[in-house]
Symmetry: C2
Amino acid sequence: MCVDTSLKGTLHRRGLRMTPQRQLVLDAVRDLGHATPEQVCTQVQAVAPAVNITTVYRTLDLLEQLGVVQHAHLGHGAPTYSEHEHRHVHLVCHSCGKVDEAPTELLSAVSERTLTERGFRLDATHVALSGTCADCAARREADSDDPDADDGAGTTETPEGGP
Amino acid sequence: MCVDTSLKGTLHRRGLRMTPQRQLVLDAVRDLGHATPEQVCTQVQAVAPAVNITTVYRTLDLLEQLGVVQHAHLGHGAPTYSEHEHRHVHLVCHSCGKVDEAPTELLSAVSERTLTERGFRLDATHVALSGTCADCAARREADSDDPDADDGAGTTETPEGGP
DNA sequence: CTCCTTGCAAATGATTTGCAAAAAC
DNA sequence: GTTTTTGCAAATCATTTGCAAGGAG
């Protein structure tokens, strides 16, 4: 093997240092699949309570620069981190917040089209597709035909029609 | 039958009141196409400097509940608001931050597929597709063609504007 | 006149930064 | 021993909230 894929090797090649915190953060990201910095921190602190959230933020940043992890924006505020190898498209339900994953090839046709028509190179892994998951769609349909009651602030009525 | 589409009418139907601030915020959203609360605020304050950003946030929230505007998450932190009628898919360059728009039908095939395969109802208007725009792709290619290994750690380049 | 809205200031929540102590090499 | 990393606390940024004054119906 010419290329050392271990975290230690990747760090050393850049003159950076291996620390338990860095390994823990990477483990947490791998473990959680896709997680916010806070979730990663919680996971890390389950093993090493002394680890500060600041370190988690810094380490996630570093690991991303190293190409070991990547982040995606799921719609609301929090970015989520996952392994760089673990490429997928996120499907986020904006009703219940559930995050599902789909293969990146789901968007390959779209990707081709944006490239051809606009020269826009779509990055499927950073994409979060918003919508309503099956469960929530069923719940809504059963409840009433309310096409877009976002957070149900008390108003049951939405007079908007089609264009 | 005759649905009053004016802001005043929409408000009155709910027992809410028409104010100059509300009209200004709506005008700004329409004017800007897709804008963050801060950008909306700046636009509004160009006409009425006394309007507070708090009011802008509250008004955008209200207008969204009324179905008059909607927000989309473009990837980084700031949500952007646009008219509900003005439905489009956002194409965000995560290198230069430029926002382009595409017709929603760009995702119709994907939408159908997620619905059939998973019961997931895609909301194309809340979607922001991330990628690299034509200009930035050209710039990168000229620099060096390294599509997968997103190094950039030691280089002078900062791919994301950063908060 | 009554209740909705606004503006201000302070609270909140997430992320960042400066710096001295601790750890890695 | 030298340089990188960490932990803490304070700073920052965007957004929200409480409350009294102001404005719409």
